[in-house]
Symmetry: C2
Subunit: 157 residues, 2 copies
Amino acid sequence: MPRDLRMSRMLHVLIHMDRHVDRVTSDQIAGMISTNAVVVRRMMAGLREKGIVTSEKGHGGGWQLARALTGITLRDVYEAVGCPPLFNIGPQADPAECLVEKAVDARLEETLQAAEARLLEQFDQIVVEDLAQDFERRFAELREGAVEPQGMACHAS
Amino acid sequence: MPRDLRMSRMLHVLIHMDRHVDRVTSDQIAGMISTNAVVVRRMMAGLREKGIVTSEKGHGGGWQLARALTGITLRDVYEAVGCPPLFNIGPQADPAECLVEKAVDARLEETLQAAEARLLEQFDQIVVEDLAQDFERRFAELREGAVEPQGMACHAS
DNA sequence: AAGTCACGCAACAATTAAAGTTTCATGTCT
DNA sequence: AGACATGAAACTTTAATTGTTGCGTGACTT
């Protein structure tokens, strides 16, 4: 299995929603991240449950941001997409019988847990607005340079 | 896909090899970790290339430890099994065109890289002997308690 | 010299979770 | 009524580890 892209994709979408559009449909979002509307709804449902976005059915409906990007941390988004396992390595899931294996598993788990805690702390300290400003810095640099600024808002705008 | 178990499994095997047996066949190792000999050879080949174990063909052959456990770090074992990706999450592999996506991917990658570097430092500072002593502590505690010490060397001894 | 044991290697099948797809139902605006 | 958009269920596809089978090679035993 390749890596879990949900968090990365949702961050991408949130910034577009804040900077470029007021209300978007699942189909438009699907265009941004090269997938289809059902996959989008699946992921966005998690964001809605966390109060990050709202959805409206029917004609003229779609998705809207519910909070400013300054109030959304990477941790919020990570949890919104269902807290997928952070690590690809580790001991087997079900507890071992062998004492050697138990000792190995415990130490490995402990080390990974500590790393996970540190990473989640990082996620707590970064808000999506930080990433949006990273984008604007890149955009400004591109305009200053000799190249014309194409691809600013990918497929969406 | 479940988690990558190779590192955990090889740590388990190395401790058994040091504490319980002098020379083991792939089949015996397969019995320890509940798999078959081919899977074992695949993983052990990496350890051999790193100089951690040696192998001998033919009658009476098998695998032997080449170094003391005090000289083998978790990092060594991690690299020996091929440096599998540590994280299950992250941005997509191929570089994005959209500037927003680029900014998101760069920041996420940077954060994960930092976490990876910290974790690998931890792996550098733990030697397999440390885990072996964890095991012996557990074993001693079990003998002191009222329970008989079964399952000391799992299926192997 | 024959036989057995054990690694080396190549090719293929099984498993698992994310991602992708299809279909239908529900709600809302014009 | 009709068009649009989300909600939800069921199924297929994909990618990587793991599991399996078969054959070749080397080494010890009798």
